[in-house]
Symmetry: C2
Subunit: 195 residues, 2 copies
DNA sequence: ACGCTATCTGAACAAACGTTCAGAAAAAAC
DNA sequence: GTTTTTTCTGAACGTTTGTTCAGATAGCGT
């Protein structure tokens, strides 16, 4: 059932998530207090608990949402023929998707240790599913004879580390445009696994 | 002047640094209390302040020491002739050095945001000096015609991200030995910048 | 044996933490 | 316009934080 536009409750929940996301990415989960998050939303700390059960769940929700977004975005992406075309699509998709979500990516990589073991396993499982897609592409390329990688599992981690590294320096409006970055990295990725 | 073997003061300082290093790497700087560090050393929290001025300086010292170790180790390393040989030496050195110090590396990359701006600039400056060494190798290789990289600065970051990524999965005693890892990564690095 | 210095304990400090909750305020429903 | 439901405030809770310090303890040179 729809609510009228100015309603509080429809807008406060997302605003909490956004504020927590930004603050966690900037200062780290453990260094951010519930009062800081509340202040950024313009509300008292107690009010947060109408939307989230506790701080740990807030972090988990942010990570979970990011990984779900990632997996459904890559699933919706066109899947060309041939390992080479598929690797190019994956490379460009990864750079574009991650560069649009620097805060989410930062949190998803750096705050894993603040998850309890069960939640950690959940997030790691989602990440594993994403990595397996790249690994599959590399294996296919080896079969086709267009790639030469001695260990597809390691090559997967190497390529993903290289691509995710873009987030440590890329800023929109900087020296290089995103298409230029895509081009440079695709060139390096392609060559690094080439036969 | 030398002290006798069982002396307290010669041994407690380093033990604090070791404990802090391990705990910071495992749980994050903000999540570790001075009492935890003291407990790991076997001492009360107040005693720590005979060795360090405050918590922030403890973190800075750990990072500073790591970066100094890195820069002096790379300076002591043999410097072969030719960009290709130099890149191979750099690649193997980086993997070996970083895989021997997983905790230091983790902290040096993840706890930068817990440094005040001045200390942050210090550490970033040291890291920049290290990265410049690789960038120089790449530029030399382009001049020699053995490398083809459109943007040496970006290629430097890409290669370092790939190499440092080893630390996220490599464990001594795992499926692959360190020489095998070196071989796989050197193969990928070499091809990724090849002419 | 004695004094000197370095080191540690254990308590204390104010501040900040995550979380709870009774009651005020506001919005929705009728 | 009144009731019902949702949302927020503001204070309070017990704990924990980094740091300080007076006094106890212990190792050193002489």
């Amino acid at each position: 059932m729809a609510r009228t536009q100015g309603s509080h409750s429809d807008i406060t929940g997302p605003r909490i998530m956004d504020a927590a996301l930004r603050l966690f990415a900037q200062n780290g989960y453990a260094a951010v207090s519930m009062r800081q998050i509340a202040g950024a939303v313009g509300v008292q700390a107690g009010a947060l608990y109408n939307y989230i059960p506790d701080k740990q769940t807030l972090l988990l929700t942010l990570m979970q949402r990011h990984m779900d977004d990632l997996l459904s975005a890559v699933a919706d992406h066109p899947r060309p023929e041939g390992a080479m075309n598929r690797l190019e699509a994956f490379t460009r998709f990864h750079i574009r998707f991650h560069s649009e979500r620097p805060d989410e990516v930062f949190i998803a990589y750096m705050e894993l240790r603040n998850l309890n073991p069960e939640n950690f396993a959940t997030i790691e499982g989602l990440r594993g599913r994403y990595e397996n897609m790249l690994e599959e592409i590399l294996r296919q390329g080896v079969e086709e004879g267009v790639f030469a990688v001695p260990d597809p599992k390691i090559a997967t981690l190497a390529v993903i580390a290289m691509l995710t590294g873009v987030n440590t320096w890329y800023r929109s409006g900087g020296r290089l445009s995103l298409p230029e970055v895509e081009e440079i990295y695709w060139d390096m990725v392609r060559k690094s696994v080439a036969a």
